[in-house]
């Protein structure tokens, strides 16, 4: 079993190498076979591995596979070494399985694109890096994967590079995540300085002995790690890149910017749970960041008109939920929400891709409408996804994961009613915008004619994902219903148990409130957006200021542009000629001027020379006389 570990990241890597070297010479079916095939095989391997893991858990709770020693300098030893435990297994499963479905979908979706091979090369590289990220046994290898996924994200957001705005979006995504990455890197330095190792197991073992709980060092380290996670996972205040990242093709948004890469921050915090638990301050910050982000992003999603931007903001919001869960110490709930979110958000993006493709690349939801009858398959799957997103009670996977988070946000050790209330407001907003999305896109009258029906190959992945969006929640029921907690049992081999407060209100009460709020949100959305009222509501002048504010994502972009970008550009522009270089040029020019000035005396007139000599003699003799 253990040997199979190597193949999971290697297969997509091979796909990447083959496609990037020979991609232009291969025919499209071959490219599709290589691109999708490698990931599918990896998915099968990971499922096999998962079954093996569940049947006979390895000793020590993890498989470990050393590939080669990366480098060894002084006291620092870094290996390229893979490690799979229960937590990693969940991530591997999602990455390869959802990844494989998205690859299959893209073989049809991208069929007419000229750069077919490049697309699959980047996608395969992404899968490889993402797998390395979650399978890494030391933080440096994790960082390698971390940057690798950033690179692929950059390449794929800017996939249609001939549109300048796409490139700008790609740059923005890379830079903002890079800021987080650098913080993460500094965190690594600090960790290494303190503990002398970058191996995750070693760190988690040694940390409790080395740091005092709540000491400033551990708080600093965890905040730096958190900053890395915030960059990658698009949490406040580094969230602005994700909506713009929607410039990439829809499968990219589904795979990278919904299902996998943006949850890397969640993985990092979950993986480093031992460190975070030692710093209550950071835990509180994580929870607060999550709560604020989910609320802010949800509000922004309400005002968007671009279907993919709505989904992007909802992704930010949902990851906010995960952070909230992590912050209150509900580790397994966070990972569980990641698990279900990957299914339904990938589904929503893929379905949105189908819709956009069918409508001549129309992104504005108010130019859509009435698609219910014309694209029934897409409609049904989208409905399943939207239901899961709005956490429709009992029949959607989203309910089970989000409900757990809501409950923990009140009653877990780190929870508080304020966080719970924020989360509840977020749930209401989520339901509202999901309903808005459904109603505006699929109900009403048709505004843009359908240009072609989607290919069957694209529908099948949608159906599979829809199936999981509905059923994935059944493996983990709330505590007060059935005693089915398969997921938590699995994950808690790695993650610590959630600590609870003593006298929390009854779980059923909170569940009931949450369900009611969700239904209220759906009802409000129905009232506001059904039929033509949606358009009227959108155009009402009284709200335009608020709407613009929310539409621009709370003006974060403008703020950053004002605070960072403009001063930076100004600084670089004024210094383009290099002040120091000017200094040297000034010396050179000074001597040049001296030269011209002195060369006046060198005028070739013999008599002038003699006068000069004479003046000199006079001067000397005068000196002699008077001194």
């Amino acid at each position: 079993m253990q040997q199979l570990l190597t193949y999971i990241p290697t297969l997509p890597l091979i796909g990447f190498i083959v496609l990037s070297l020979f991609g232009r010479k291969l025919s499209k079916p071959v490219i599709a076979a290589i691109g999708a095939g490698t990931v599918c095989i990896a998915a099968i391997i990971s499922i096999v591995l998962g079954i093996a893991f569940l049947q006979t858990p390895p000793s020590g709770g993890a498989w470990q596979q050393l590939l080669w020693s990366w480098f060894k300098v002084g006291t620092l030893t870094v290996d390229i070494s893979l490690r799979v435990d229960a937590l990693t297994l969940v991530f591997i499963f999602i990455i390869t399985f959802v990844g494989a479905l998205i690859h299959i979908y893209s073989t049809f979706f991208m069929w007419r694109d000229a750069d077919y091979a490049r697309f699959f090369a980047c996608m395969n590289l992404f899968v490889c890096s993402m797998l390395l990220l979650v399978m890494a046994d030391n933080l440096l290898l994790l960082y390698l994967g971390w940057e690798g996924v950033g690179l692929c994200s950059y390449l794929l957001i800017g996939f249609w590079y001939d549109v300048p705005s796409n490139c700008r979006a790609a740059n923005k995504a890379f830079l903002i995540t890079r800021i987080g990455d650098t913080a993460l890197l500094i965190g690594l330095f600090l960790l290494f300085k303190e503990l002398g190792s970058l191996n995750m197991t070693t760190i988690l073992q040694q940390a409790p002995g080395h740091f005092a709980a709540g000491s400033s060092t551990i708080t600093l380290i965890t905040i730096l790690l958190l900053a890395g996670g915030m960059g990658k996972s698009a949490q406040l205040p580094l969230q602005t890149w994700l909506p713009d990242a929607m410039a990439g093709p829809s499968p990219v948004s589904a795979l990278i910017h919904a299902a996998t890469m943006v949850t890397a921050g969640v993985y990092l915090i979950a993986r480093m749970n031992g460190l975070f638990l030692m710093s209550p301050v950071t835990m509180a910050i994580v929870a607060i960041v999550g709560a604020i982000t989910l609320f802010v992003a949800g509000c922004s999603a309400l005002a968007q008109t671009d279907i993919k931007r709505i989904l992007a903001y909802s992704t930010i919001s949902q990851i906010g939920y995960m952070f909230l869960a992590l912050g209150v110490g509900a580790w397994s709930a966070a990972v569980f929400h990641f698990f279900t979110h990957a299914f339904f958000k990938a589904l929503l993006f893929l379905a949105a891709g189908v819709v956009i493709e069918a409508l001549h690349h129309e992104h504005n939801i108010f130019m859509m409408g009435g698609l219910r009858k014309r694209m029934p398959a897409v409609y049904i799957t989208f409905l399943a996804g939207a239901a899961a997103l709005s956490a429709l009670p009992l029949v959607s996977a989203g309910f089970y994961s989000k409900d757990a988070i809501l409950w923990y946000s009140w009653s877990a050790a780190g929870g508080s009613p304020v966080l719970w209330f924020m989360a509840l407001a977020g749930a209401f907003i989520t339901a509202l915008y999901s309903t808005r999305l459904m109603l505006v896109v699929f109900w009403g009258e048709m505004k843009t004619p359908i240009h072609e029906q989607p290919n069957r190959g694209m529908i099948i992945p949608l159906l599979i994902l829809a199936f999981f969006s509905v059923t994935a929640g059944f493996i983990e029921w709330p505590h007060n219903m059935f005693q089915v907690t398969l997921f938590a049992d699995h994950v808690q081999r790695v993650l610590p148990e959630t600590l609870m407060k003593q006298n929390e209100p009854s779980e059923a009460l909170l569940q009931g409130i949450a369900a009611l709020v969700t239904l209220a949100g759906i009802y409000l959305g129905y009232v506001l957006y059904y039929g033509k009222s949606g358009v009227r509501w959108q155009q009402s002048p009284g709200l335009s200021a608020t709407r613009n504010f929310l539409f621009s994502g709370w003006k974060f972009d403008q703020l950053y542009s004002f605070v960072f970008v403009k001063p930076y550009l100004f600084l670089t522009r004024i210094n383009k000629g290099d002040v120091i270089d000017r200094l040297y040029s000034a010396i050179a020019q000074g001597s040049m001027r001296m030269n011209t000035w002195l060369s006046v005396s060198q005028n070739g007139s013999l008599r002038m020379y003699i006068v000069g000599v004479l003046a000199g003699i006079l001067f000397i003799i005068t000196l002699q006389l008077f001194l």
């Binding site: 006068v611 004479l614 003046a615 006079l618 003799i621 005068t622 006389l625």
Partner: protein
Amino acid sequence: MVITRYHPVHALLYLAVSFFASSMVFLSLGAPFVAALEIIVYAGAIIVLFIFVVMMLNLGNETARQEREWLKPKVWVMPAVLVLLLLIEMIILLFSNDTEPMQIAVVEPRKLALSLYGEYIIAVELTGFLLMAGIVGAAHIGKHKKEELHRFLQNGQGDQQKTKRTRKTKAITNEQTALHE
């Protein structure tokens, strides 16, 4: 008088007179040999050389007229004032330290010759070299330049000037680019 004449030949004549005068001074200083040399070499050889050149270049009344034009007070007042200053300073220097009067004694040519070929032998040889170089140089300059001149004359005078001017402008542009950079 020498320096104020317009006509070169007049100037040369006054120069000869001044040489004679100074040779008399030498004689009174007790240096008969030097006095003789003064007359022979300066008044004899050098003046003759000058006269040759004046004759070769055919400098006559023409030049005199030219000189008259050039020698305006505007031209000579400034240097004259400067030189006057110098003169005053030197005189002050001369008389600033009073020394005892000296008695004039004749230094014989024999003594002179002994010291010349005794302690100053190397200097004498160097002088020989200098004279040699002077002769060769004079001959060379006189001859070589003329050949060059012939070549230029064959190619045409304008051509030469043109090449010179282009070289100069090139140098200037180089300088300007350097400045510009």
